[in-house]
């Protein structure tokens, strides 16, 4: 017993900082997810010419907290015929995998829980892929046809798109030569160009595959409510349902962070290596301060006194954040914290843009049919990503032969990207003309609907 105690002390001594960060992430993430949902609802309302949540707090700013309280105090229902243990385990698995994969990510150069792990990006991708078990087991354990169909669709979809996503990651990793997350971003700062420009086809593949992997519209087939009620979540309610919800949005954050790290320069400012653009450092603080000022302007328009106070508090928070961001640029003493603070800002900014793009797609494109989804995955994305890996490799060898670096690499990577796209489109056209014959139709939709 004493030895066990000793080991615990040893463990805590060695790992107190990552543990603390982990606890912070687990504590903050539900709040962040709540506000992402609020942004999504507001955005949806804006695109459909309505107001969205307006009642709880000014402009519905407290709506996520109200929703969370509602979900927490709802009755916990477990169907009679459900497999109780697996039913209990499934949402926890989903959320656990999503949270665990966050540990490998680097939010700015200063904030990373699992620091300097050699397998960096593989850890994030591999562990977040485990979340599928939560979906499949949850669908099976509910002992309902809708749930099982949703779970089957989901696993088919994830397995199909995982390949394309992995190949897309490979062609970006060819530029870095390392899996370590910090080294990936440093490689982009050394080249002076983000990999989204060097490997645009890979970025496109990853974008589409990541939407499919997070079960978002237009690929939200597992929970297509017109066909499957709510898919694998049908029998889940209250807190268990909110765990699934949390996992879905945490997964969105994970894929957005992977894309940001690998393709969008991680925590680097746009044009970080161009010194005359250092003026851009004033952009983040000014942006936040402008938001704060707008909140102050809106204060008199709020209907009740409480809402006015809350709006003021939000403005104050924005001002504090703005000053924190301004300090490293203006005050020489705070200069050492520049990369940490501004890196964090740019990383979160890019992740938010990526998630915004997800939402934009959701309200723009109608849902795919299941066989269309499978065809897009197997007949277009997977060939495209494999051809792209080959051509990026060829382009890299050609670049090394001509001693090209940084922006010069575009000379060889752009033709490679164009060729990859053309070949993949030709394959798709060939498949289509073959699929148009009557004996070949309905080959790939045997588990649809």
């Amino acid at each position: 017993m004493n030895a066990l105690f000793q080991a615990t002390i040893e463990f805590l001594k060695a790992f107190w900082a990552p543990l603390l960060c982990g606890v912070a992430i687990v504590a903050i993430l539900p709040l962040v997810v709540g506000y992402i949902v609020l942004v999504e609802r507001k955005l949806m309302a804006d695109m459909q010419a309505r107001l969205g949540p307006m009642r709880v707090g000014p402009h519905g700013l407290l709506q996520p907290i109200a929703d969370a309280v509602k979900l927490l105090i709802k009755e916990d229902i477990i169907p009679d015929d459900a497999d109780k243990l697996v039913f209990w385990l499934a949402p926890v698995l989903s959320v656990g995998a999503a949270l665990l994969s966050l540990a490998g990510l680097a939010i700015g150069p200063a904030f990373q829980i699992a620091q300097d792990i050699n397998i960096g990006i593989l850890f994030v991708v591999g562990v977040s892929a485990l979340g599928i078990f939560g979906i499949v087991l949850g669908g099976w354990a509910s002992n309902s046809h809708y749930s099982l169909m949703g779970a089957l669709r989901s696993s088919a979809q994830l397995v199909s798109y995982e390949t394309a996503a992995g190949m897309a990651l490979v062609s970006a990793l060819l530029f870095t030569g390392t899996l370590n997350i910090k080294s990936i971003v440093e490689a982009q700062s050394k080249e002076g160009i983000w990999f989204v420009l060097l490997a645009p086809v890979a970025f496109f593949c990853y974008l589409v595959a990541s939407i499919a992997e997070t079960n978002r519209a237009p690929f939200d087939l597992p929970e297509a409510e017109s066909e499957l009620v709510a898919g694998y979540m049908t029998e889940f309610s209250g807190f268990r349902w909110s765990l699934y919800f949390l996992a879905e949005y945490a997964n969105m954050i994970v894929v957005a962070s992977v894309a940001t790290t690998l393709f969008l320069g991680g925590w680097l400012r746009p044009f970080a290596s161009v010194s005359w653009l250092n003026v851009l450092d004033f952009l983040p603080p000014l942006l936040i301060l402008a938001i704060g000022a707008y909140c102050i302007v809106r204060v008199p328009k709020q209907p009740t006194r409480v809402q006015q106070m809350f709006m003021l508090a939000v403005a104050g928070l924005c001002f504090v954040l703005g000053l924190v961001l301004l300090a490293p640029v203006v005050v020489p003493v705070a200069k050492p914290f520049y990369s940490g603070i501004h890196g964090g800002f740019w990383f979160i900014f890019k992740v938010s843009l990526y998630i915004y793009f997800f939402m934009w797609l959701r309200f723009t494109i109608p849902r795919y049919r299941f066989d269309q989804l499978m065809r897009l995955g197997w007949h277009f994305l997977i060939p495209l990503s494999i051809i792209n890996v080959l051509l990026v490799g060829v382009a890299l060898i050609a670049g090394a032969y001509f001693h090209l670096q940084g922006w010069g690499l575009l000379l060889v990577t752009t033709p490679a990207a164009v060729i990859a796209l053309v070949v993949a489109l030709l394959i798709l056209a060939a498949e289509k003309s073959r699929g148009a014959r009557p004996d070949q139709t309905a080959a790939s939709d045997f588990y649809a609907g």
């Binding site: 040893e10 397998i119 485990l130 599928i132 078990f133 099976w140 089957l152 994830l158």
Partner: protein, 172 residues
């Protein structure tokens, strides 16, 4: 001390869930315990500082193969399996095989105690900073030292895959 605790933690989970996997009646429960056993083994890999092996175990076995396993299990009718006899009756053959295996493992342990320097190799721990980078080392040995066996294995897998597709296509 910490190493030992972690090792027995992972090893205990691996052995216990392997035993549970064999004895459960419900196939899905068996699959869950197989996943647990694989994850615990991955943990032991990680403790040996074989990070690449750890993540490959998780991505391939847990995230790939087990997903397909569970997928197939969902498609079969479980009620039929529940009423069938769980274990095949080959007691004596099984006993013989188990005894042979136990004897073999025991011999290795026994000989390592008797003949120093000839049995189980004893590895000395190196500081983490001085170890070569894991994924890079694996890549070098795969694509430089063992390139031909690696390519042969991948061609073999490709043949198996195409064969499976051809056999599946015939039915329709």
């Amino acid at each position: 001390m910490l190493d030992k605790v972690l090792f027995y933690f992972f090893a205990g989970i691996a052995v216990a869930s392997a035993a549970l996997m064999v004895t459960r009646r419900n196939v899905v429960h068996s699959a869950i315990f197989l996943i647990t056993a694989l994850l615990a083994t991955a943990g032991i890999f990680l403790q040996l500082r074989a990070e690449f092996l750890f993540i490959v175990q998780i991505i391939l076995y847990v995230g790939g193969i087990m997903v397909l396993f569970v997928f197939v299990i969902m498609l079969v009718n479980l009620d039929v399996a529940l009423h069938q006899i769980q274990f095949a009756r080959q007691k004596w053959v099984a006993l013989l095989v188990a005894l042979a295996l136990a004897g073999q493992v025991g011999l290795v342990f026994w000989s390592s105690g008797k003949m120093p320097g000839q049995g189980l190799p004893v590895l000395t721990a190196t500081a983490a900073e001085r170890l070569p980078l894991n994924s890079e080392t694996v890549a070098h040995s795969l694509f430089e030292s063992y390139l031909l066996p690696f390519e042969i294995a991948s061609v073999l897998l490709l043949v198996a895959m195409i064969g499976a597709v051809v056999m599946a296509k015939k039915r329709t």
